[in-house]
């Protein structure tokens, strides 16, 4: 069986946060009501038992990812119930990796130990910055010190695989503050860092504040300087950039996220969670109340059937995000499209400018470092309009 004919990853969504960050446009709601969380947990367990939308055989080593929102807002008993449901229904067998996202503001040693005991072997912390002013500006609930403490507790709890998310281009951020954040973070010894440029999404409170001139973003050039700082600094520190925004030491890649970038099938459970069977995408209702009532009967998924062209476009722009490149042989086998032939003329200028590179033996197409900086220009080649 080909890897793309099996569920390779399982995602479970928790749409709750202690408080919504100002830049966030994900499906999450500020909620501290334990009874709602319990009802939600039961609903997700029900969905898991029903088999969800993606009807493919499950790879016994499929990765597990508890994301959000903030899964760590859920009481430990709820997490335990969810893990149990996944195990009972053969989604959680011998996962190659089991990650849980944790907001440093919700962490304590006992909780992290409990996660470890439940079988999670990887933690992803939303650190974002180690500058308290910056954290406050974007509405994070924790301080820099709490973030560093959380990482220390995770290590004490027995986690060896820890990720921290960072954002650059924050309002008020400077090259100096970013450098300091990076230095402090690397000092903790964690082996995985994700760094994202801030995206101001329409309709978020952050967008309003910026439009009203109450917050000012670093200009385009400073943001680009920050991006370069991140590249150079992490490289010096022995991190390998294995995806546009992801860096790992000692090969500690996120196996779960690699499933997305390799465009392999994944199952998903929970409100707003999105599963993919290799041809169609299924998204559950993101309104928690609707999701709760639906699970009484059967979850109704918003189904998006992708055309072959759309599949190819996504396969390419996801695949090219990895430094290991997009596998054109697989594109041909899966989708019947010879990428080198079909897009030859559009790709040509990018080969000339050394933004694209092709390994004809392995049939792998790569973005060069410069290509990654202007990735969208290349991704656009493969999407259809």
């Amino acid at each position: 069986m080909k890897p793309y004919e099996q569920i390779q990853a399982i995602y479970l969504h928790t749409p709750f946060c202690v408080q919504k960050c100002l830049y966030c446009d994900f499906a999450s709601y500020a909620c501290r009501d334990a009874s709602v969380m319990e009802r939600y947990t039961d609903a997700v367990c029900k969905e898991i038992a029903s088999g969800g939308a993606v009807k493919l055989p499950v790879n016994p080593n499929a990765t597990i990812y508890f994301g959000g929102g903030t899964p760590s807002t859920l009481p430990v008993e709820c997490i335990a119930k969810l893990v149990d449901a996944l195990k009972k229904n053969k989604y959680w067998q011998e996962p190659a990796e089991a990650t849980i996202e944790v907001n440093p503001g919700t962490a304590d040693l006992a909780k992290l130990k409990a996660f470890r005991e439940l079988g999670f072997d990887r933690i992803s912390f939303g650190v974002q910055s180690l500058n308290d002013t910056e954290l406050k500006t974007i509405g994070r609930i924790h301080t820099a010190e709490e973030a560093l403490q959380a990482i220390a507790w995770a290590e004490e709890a027995g986690f060896t695989r820890i990720n921290a998310d960072l954002i650059y281009g924050l309002p008020g951020q400077t090259m100096e503050s970013l450098r300091k954040t990076l230095e402090q973070l690397v000092e903790t010894g964690i082996e995985h860092i994700s760094v994202y440029g801030l995206i101001v999404e329409e309709g978020t409170p952050l967008a309003t504040l910026i439009n009203e001139g109450k917050l000012i973003l670093p200009d385009e050039d400073t943001a680009a300087d920050m991006y370069e700082l991140v590249q150079n600094f992490l490289k010096e520190q022995g991190f390998e950039r294995y995806e546009i925004s992801n860096y790992a030491k000692n090969g500690q890649y996120s196996k779960h996220n690699l499933v997305y970038w390799k465009y392999e099938p994944y199952a998903a459970f929970g409100a707003a969670a999105c599963g993919f069977d290799g041809a169609s995408r299924f998204t559950a209702n993101e309104v928690v109340a609707d999701y709760l009532s639906q699970t009484q009967e059967a979850v109704i998924y918003n189904e998006e059937n992708l055309s072959n062209e759309e599949l190819l476009g996504e396969f390419m722009f996801m695949g090219l995000r990895k430094t290991s490149g997009a596998n054109l042989r697989e594109a041909r086998e899966r989708l019947g499209i010879d990428v080198m032939e079909r897009f030859a003329s559009e790709m040509e200028p990018f080969f000339q400018k050394e933004m694209l590179r092709y390994d004809s033996e392995q049939e792998l197409l790569f973005l060069t470092e410069r290509g990654m900086e202007l990735g969208n220009l290349i991704f656009e080649i493969f999407v259809t309009i």
Partner: protein, 598 residues
């Protein structure tokens, strides 16, 4: 109907002085349309006309009115285009009338356009009836306006009609004044047919529909007619009048206004101003005043997608069926590929055509900056008309160049005289004279290069006078000018479509402004793009569009792939509207940059 009961009139007004509203009221009051049939401002029927609040094509309506004296009259109202671009069309519509209502906003007074049209009406010997509108407004000052009419135009305004087209006050007085004062037609029904064409439009079923005023004789269905200017002959298939929809009748009699169709395929054969006569019994001479409309403003129209070239040609041909003043011929630009050089009566005409091409024909177009037509005298004695800056000859072979000038009339409160003169001087204007209309308003005459009017004269005039100035102008011939061609180079390569002809003294400043503007309009691309302005081989200004440093989706995981794909699709779609010139992608606005400089 007896000619003595016919009244043919039009309405003259400055923009926004209430012409369309008054026309609506007259039609309503005479019961030509029931209230239910009345759409607001029914006369401006084209979408664009309504949006812009102006009349582009003339219209005509026949109403029957029972006057206070008990007699019934046939009132033919001929609407005129309300913009300086269409002065010739206005003059022909006026020539079809015996009288005109001069509508003046009682809160504003006479404006430049009012005057220009009054003079046109006087040239055509029309009886002018002053109508003071908007008297319901608190700031109305009808006596002042009447005095102004007497002082400035020199016609008696003592029995001017006061009305409010909006509220309906005085509408019947307007109708009575038309009956009493507009002379009845005095044509001879026994003479051979002579009818004046004052407009035409293309109808997919009928062919060209000609709007005519019968001067002598009569026009009947089935008769063979001849267009006296073109000599073309046709058989009349339909005759009728406007209500304002078409109503068929057997004939149009002497003095009447209406339409006819004769299976004419192209408006070129039915030009405004031409005389229609009986082919079997022709009139000895046509009506005076006919001329072919000549385009004054030119620009290049190019499809963004080269594959749309044929569609653009088809669309232009279709528009030309309805608009004989639109001219176009194929041209090639090294930067833009295949397109057309198009000639228009003026800027508004250009905008209207451009908008119709995009709206009605779904084309995505690049328009080059408009320019006038230059008369270039070569050192070898040859003279040529240049309608495209990129065809402007090398300075070494030019003896001298002439450009079109206009006589501009500006009316402005006296406090702004200094500002207007300063601006006009800066725009290379030649002062002619100035008269006080009353103690507070002044009329100034300047000869100005038409190219400056096209460039930004009107906008600047409006802003320096806080909107108080009104402007009208007419072409007054060609004058010697010291002009040079400024070329723009992107990445070291000249882009012909961005070349501009400017006065030598301003070349330096314009060149610098232009490259600065282009730098801000051209999006950052993969590499740095030098933008240069040059005269001949000499670079006079330079800016760089710096290379784009970063453009990549930061985050992409399982849940938002669709959204990210749509984002990329949208970005790609946006770029489709840009034109690839060499290795540089140019947005449409770049080609109009020269018009958008401060």
């Amino acid at each position: 109907m007896d000619q003595s009961k016919i009244r043919n009139f039009s309405i003259i007004a400055h923009i926004d002085h209430g012409k369309s509203t008054l026309a609506d009221r007259l039609i309503e009051h005479t019961g030509t349309l029931t209230k239910r049939e009345m759409e607001e401002q029914i006369l401006d029927s084209m979408d664009l006309e309504r949006e812009r609040g102006i009349t582009i094509k003339a219209q005509a309506v026949r109403s029957m009115y029972k006057a206070r004296n008990g007699e019934e009259y046939m009132l033919n109202f001929i609407d005129t285009p309300g913009h300086v671009d269409f002065t010739y069309e206005v003059s022909r519509a006026l020539a079809a009338c015996e009288g005109a209502l001069l509508v003046i906003d009682s809160t504003q007074g006479i404006e430049a356009q009012t005057l220009a049209n009054v003079y046109l009406a006087l040239d055509n010997d029309l009886e002018i009836i002053p109508v003071v509108n908007k008297i319901d407004l608190p700031s109305a000052d009808p006596d002042h306006v009447k005095r102004e009419v007497e002082d400035v135009i020199g016609i008696d305004a003592s029995d001017a009609v006061l009305c409010s087209a909006k509220t309906g006050i005085g509408i019947e007085d307007v109708l009575e004044a038309i009956v009493a004062k507009v002379p009845a037609p005095t044509g001879d029904e026994t003479k051979p047919l002579k009818a004046l064409v004052f407009d035409s439009k293309f109808d997919a079923y009928k062919g060209v529909v000609l709007y005519v005023r019968v001067i002598d004789g009569s026009l009947r269905k089935g008769m063979k007619i001849r267009m006296m200017a073109t000599g073309a002959e046709f058989e009349v298939t339909e005759v009728g009048y406007f209500k304002p929809g078409l109503v068929n009748v057997d004939s149009l009699e002497v003095g009447q206004v209406g339409f006819f169709a004769a299976s004419i395929k192209n408006v070129k054969d039915a030009r405004v101003g031409d005389t229609v006569t009986d082919a079997n019994n022709p009139a000895p001479a046509p009506l005076p005043g006919y001329r072919k409309a000549t385009p004054m403003v030119f620009c290049g129209l190019y499809p963004v997608e080269n594959s749309e070239y044929d569609n653009l040609r088809d669309a232009l041909e279709k528009l030309q069926l309805n608009d004989a003043s639109l001219v176009f011929e194929p041209e090639t630009s090294t930067a833009l590929g295949f397109g057309f050089r198009c000639g228009f009566l003026g800027l508004l005409h250009m905008d209207v055509i451009k908008e119709r091409l995009e709206r009605e024909y779904g084309l995505t177009l690049i328009t080059t900056a408009p320019n006038v037509i230059y008369e270039v005298f070569r050192t070898n004695g040859d003279v040529e008309m240049v309608d495209n800056p990129s065809n402007f000859p090398d300075p070494t072979v030019i003896d001298h160049v002439e450009e079109p000038f206009v006589n501009a009339t500006i009316i402005v409160p006296k406090d702004y005289v200094g500002a207007v003169m300063e601006l006009s001087q800066e725009k290379r204007g030649e002062y002619e004279n100035m008269t006080y209309l009353d103690e507070s308003r002044v009329m100034i005459h300047y000869a100005l290069p038409l190219s400056e009017i096209i460039y930004d004269y009107f906008d600047r005039l409006k802003s320096t006078t806080r909107g108080y100035a009104s402007l009208d102008y007419e072409l007054c011939g060609y004058r010697d000018s010291n002009l040079v061609k400024v070329d723009i180079l992107l990445n070291g390569d000249p882009v012909d479509a961005l070349s501009a002809i400017v006065h030598r003294e301003k070349a330096q400043v314009r060149g610098r402004q232009l490259v600065e503007k282009l730098r801000s309009l051209i999006p950052r691309q993969m590499f740095e793009i030098p933008v240069q302005a040059a005269i001949g081989n000499k670079v006079i200004a330079r800016e760089n569009v710096r290379a784009m440093r970063k453009d990549v989706l930061a985050k992409c995981y399982g849940g938002d792939i669709s959204r990210k794909r749509k984002l990329l699709e949208k970005q790609k779609e946006g770029k489709k509207r840009m034109k690839q010139v060499g290795s540089v992608e140019l947005p449409q606005e770049a080609f109009m940059a020269i018009l958008k400089m401060d």
